[in-house]
Symmetry: D3
Subunit: 138 residues, 6 copies
């Protein structure tokens, strides 16, 4: 069993705003992240998969295939987008780093299985000072 | 003459869109950066000033003062904001990295002079793959 | 269950010196780190907590609260300090990266619990070439 | 139980080529990595060991000893070498990041044990966009 | 006048070897870099151009165009190649970082002029500990 | 004319304190940097030299020689030291980043000349948020 990680990135706008709350409550909880006209980030995405090393290739998975999957299924729908507005799968979800990580996990998990490996971790870096890791499960 | 640089950062949303052009032309020139619902970045700002070393302090300028200036006059108005919408000084300007750098220069230049030093360079990093440097002048 | 990490940093002086040993023995074991007049580092501290995502906020913990906790309870007592001399809780402890990590863990663990999450890891980076991770336990 | 990591690096040439396959098949699977005249990388190697903190030193292991071990037993045989040609222990192995990580693990594991600690992880970074982690076992 | 920089990267094998010298002399001058079976690097390339900001776009040059130029004219011929063997323009040149930088400059200079800007600097990072900058001229 | 840069690093303790001032004045000007028991940093040192490319080697200077010079003449006297106490050449100088940069320049300049090149810049990074560049001259 060995673990391999591929890094990709996307740039997106978002805001943190709970529509069930008034403006004052949103400001109290989310601070500047509640700015109604959005702000944004350069997100760095690290996808880790695990599996056995294939004798013929020396690979767990072909990194080109893994990179293509992440680009087509994640980057294409998140890059240069507004996470609150432009992404159908996130339409009723607060786009916190936590929730976006789970969203990415749910998309990638079956696709990585289909490549003959297992998704181990989605790590999403929002700024140089904070990141989230999701390993699946509750 | 010695040069000292202070790094700060801000997160902002923006889009690149020339209102004199139609949607197709904006898409042709600006590509994904024209997404009408915005996208965003973690901007890194490097401000370089130059001057003589003060004998009593060993400093060109007190970095705490320089940091306070950048925070109060730049970060406060750009951080967690929408560069197209929320910043009065940028209201009629395409918020490209180039134009935002010049905007920052124009604010800081007289304030750095007032600290007894000279503004040398504003460097603005938009992503890990591109940055702009402005040294003043035409 | 999801994991979120906050990075902070502090600058400190220290030396590695076992008072039960003579100078030659300290030099043999600790090398340049035994320099009696101290040396120092820019420490990077990564604090990882885990928990369930709150439905109303999208957060495991509010990162602002976690950052405030780390600043008030750790950075305030370690930043711009001498780890051998200035920190009461470290007064009889060799300030190796290992021991400082455990010291930080012991302070943060009950405070993170009080925030409704669980402390998972304290990672302390001493130089770009070495770091320690502590997950609690013996 | 605490974990400490030491980073070293080496520069090497390699190519990915399965001699049982013809050129077209190698190109299909390995893409540009199959270039017959080699290419190369700056590899970053992170070695993590775990153990109890020694009361007299504050150390799990003396990092100088760990660094010396990695330099003498790994860097010396891989740095500025061709991984396909110059390294006897890799002579019949596809030098993928996965296989090189396992090669390093097998060398270091008994030597770290002999230092009174346990090898926990070999992490090998091939480019800024991909890395492998090996924790031993099948 | 404003400066904008685009970063790209390529991975390549090379060796430093002066064919007019014997093996001992090459080893004395180039050390491990003379290894006859090659070694390699992850090169980071920073291309800086300067010019006036276009009023309609806010750009000195369209970064997408600059990136496409670097990819088609530089990365395509250097990435996953052997700099001593595979690159016709370098066939009689020692592929030191200095010489590769000049090689890149000579290709890009007229193409950047044709984009309406001026090439200012080619910076080539060979390892995290060394890089070369070339600004043209003798 | 081409520019080549070598990076080295050292870890040191220091404090900023003007002995002609009382404690309150030092605290007012230097803040936490005046802590009487010292603090410290991981300093990164970038030394840039310029010259013509040697036809036989492809080098401005042999980086191994430049690295050896920096190690023997700078790192040896600053690494794991107290800049206020342990370094004879800094004994009457406030060890600000500015003054340490000038100190390093004055040592290296004639030695780089003796290597057949010219010292262009000493860049000293004190933390990830500030650095000084010195190009000689007044």
């Amino acid at each position: 069993m060995i673990y391999i990680t591929r890094k990709e990135h996307f740039n997106a706008a978002h805001k943190l705003c709970n529509d069930a709350w008034d403006k004052a409550k949103n400001l109290e909880v989310f601070g500047k992240c509640a700015n109604e006209n959005w702000h944004g980030h350069n997100y760095e995405l690290f996808v880790t998969v695990k599996g056995q090393v294939n004798k013929d290739t020396g690979f767990v998975v072909n990194l080109k295939d893994l990179g293509d999957l992440i680009k087509s299924d994640i980057i294409e729908i998140l890059d240069h987008k507004n996470l609150n507005v432009d992404v159908s799968g996130l339409s009723n979800i607060l786009p916190s780093t936590e929730n976006v990580s789970i969203f990415i996990w749910d998309i990638l998990k079956p696709k990585v299985n289909a490549m003959g490996a297992e998704l181990h971790c989605v790590k999403l870096v929002e700024t140089e000072n904070n990141y989230v890791e999701y390993f699946g499960g509750k």
